[in-house]
């Protein structure tokens, strides 16, 4: 379809729940999984692309993040500060479960920058917390015996100073 510039083309994505999202192709480029699908298709992709692993809540957040970041990057001054504020709000707005769900979705869709941001966010959350907190956060079972765990803790006592109470 000559005459229509690339940035105006719209891609439609369909979530697990069947919700449709129209996305500018310039944004879709950041969803590398989607972009690969488009690149691999012989013809222009006109029908909605199904995303069997992505829920509406997550896709909505991801697109919100990408849209905002594209806006910040399109050269207004002071964008860095605004972007930092947006990022902080974005991170704060999610519960731990929602954070994890978003990581899974961002990983599936291969959204590199967002994924890195989310990883750093979770790292910041768990950084000064107890081992028990971390187990709960990730849903991990403790497979050490009490003696084994005690031994490990004693080996590096210094590292356990300053841990926040749960």
């Amino acid at each position: 379809m000559s005459g229509i510039s690339d940035t105006e083309r719209m891609i439609t994505l369909k979530t697990v729940e069947g919700t449709l999202f129209d996305v500018k192709s310039s944004i879709a480029k950041d969803l590398k999984t989607v972009q690969a699908f488009i690149d691999d298709s012989d013809d222009d992709v006109t029908s909605p692309i199904p995303l069997p692993n992505v829920f509406t809540r997550e896709l909505s957040r991801i697109l919100d993040y990408l849209n905002n970041h594209h806006r910040f990057r399109s050269g207004i001054e002071k964008a860095d500060e605004e972007m930092a504020r947006y990022d902080a709000e974005f991170a704060k707005s999610m519960s731990h479960e929602e954070l994890k769900a978003l990581i899974l979705a961002a990983n599936y869709l291969n959204v590199k920058d967002l994924l890195e941001f989310l990883n750093q966010t979770v790292a910041d959350v768990i950084q000064n917390k107890s081992v028990e907190f971390v187990r709960n956060f990730f849903g991990i079972e403790n497979d050490y015996t009490p003696e084994e765990e005690e031994k490990l803790r004693n080996e590096n006592e210094w590292a356990f100073n300053g841990v926040e109470q749960d």
């Binding site: 697990v16 829920f55 479960e97 769900a101 990883n119 849903g139 991990i140 403790n142 050490y144 080996e155």
Partner: protein
């Protein structure tokens, strides 16, 4: 209809967890070894450890940088996080074999510290305070009558990492103020052997502070040259195995080398060319010096260690002090350390191990 899967607690697979762990400081990784055996195995994995080190190194501020000093009161090393409130210092066990001897720190690189044990016949030690492991490095000259042992020579050294060969190099030199003809040697951890460093092309020089600073692939020592009180910096490029001299920005003396932000070499020294001789901090960028606009409360005798977030951290009279950019003391911590040059070092915590090309790594958990 709310999808069932949404309501379940999400479980992140280990490959995704790993990407989160890359952003944690070393201290957290040590704690989280206790989370589960899978996590222990991941955190011990050398591929992960290297990736973690590189990630931390590439960040704007390295969360793992610490000040380590040898206590003059008890046989232990102490560690201070200069970014956080500096009150939180803690003890680290020295390797058992050297704990009760007189020690000097000759340098550090990538989480390893080069220790000199002041006992004739004792080797140098490459020690990782976080993992507790260490490796002995015997000196290049073992003859007890050699001048470096009889006390007529000064001995100096340093530790660096050569990225081009993924190798750690220990450099040692010795010389005296009578002959002004020092000898230099370097040891490769990978090949477990010493080689001589050519220095005939340099004017006569003598290193004055025995410990080195490692910065961007080069080891630096404070020195004097030409048999005069002409202060200079000796630089050893690890990739090219090449020794050279770097002049001070202006004529001056009483210096101290600093590891500054973005891996730049800093020099704190007394500038003789000012009307009122002043202590200044200069930064070396691409082989040229620029003066740093920093308020230095030199009149109060502070020896700077580093700059963090616009605040200067230094030592004054057995106290670690943080000074704001207005020259006001923000925080202080009493430390018992008697030699700022040889018993103290800025180092970056890591979980790295030394390359294991030849023979054993001395493994001890520091108890």
């Amino acid at each position: 209809m709310k999808h069932e899967a949404e309501a379940e607690a999400k479980v992140l697979p280990l490959e995704l967890v790993e990407k989160i762990l890359l952003w944690l400081p070393v201290k957290s990784l040590i704690q989280f070894r206790c989370v589960s055996k899978k996590w222990l195995s991941l955190i011990l994995d050398s591929r992960f450890v290297k990736l973690h080190y590189d990630t931390a190194d590439a960040a704007p501020t390295n969360k793992n940088t610490r000040l380590l000093y040898l206590s003059s009161e008890v046989p232990e090393a102490r560690c201070v996080d200069l970014e956080a409130p500096i009150r939180g210092d803690y003890a680290l066990q020295l390797p058992l074999c050297c704990r009760h001897f007189c020690l000097s720190i000759l340098g550090s690189s990538r989480g390893f510290i080069l220790l000199r044990i002041h006992v004739y016949g004792a080797p140098l030690l490459l020690w990782n305070p976080v993992t507790g492991s260490y490796r002995s490095v015997p000196y290049p000259v073992l003859d007890p009558d050699a001048s470096c042992w009889t006390g007529s020579d000064n001995l100096w050294g340093g530790l660096g990492y050569d990225e081009s060969s993924d190798d750690y190099l220990v450099v040692v030199g010795w010389g005296n103020g009578h002959e002004w003809r020092p000898q230099w040697e370097y040891f490769s951890v990978r090949t477990n052997s010493w080689k001589t460093i050519e220095c005939g092309h340099l004017p006569p020089h003598l290193v004055t502070v025995e410990s080195a600073l490692f910065c961007n692939g080069v080891l630096y020592w404070l020195a004097v040259k030409d048999m005069e009180v002409n202060f200079v910096i000796v630089a050893f490029d690890l990739a090219r195995k090449h020794l050279s001299l770097v002049s001070f920005p202006t004529s001056g003396g009483s210096g101290r080398l600093l590891n500054l932000f973005a891996g730049c070499l800093g020099l704190y020294y007394l500038n003789f060319t000012e009307d009122h001789q002043k202590f200044e901090i200069w930064v070396m960028k691409e082989l040229s010096w620029t003066k740093l606009n920093v308020v230095l409360p030199y009149a109060h005798g502070i020896h700077p260690l580093c700059l963090t977030k616009g605040e200067l951290v230094g030592i004054k009279n057995n106290e670690l002090v943080k000074v704001s950019d207005k020259g006001v003391s923000v925080e202080s911590l009493r430390i018992s350390c008697c030699d700022y040059n040889l018993k103290m070092v800025m180092f970056t915590q890591s979980l790295l191990s030394l390359p294991d090309e030849f023979g054993c790594t001395g493994e001890e958990q520091g108890k």
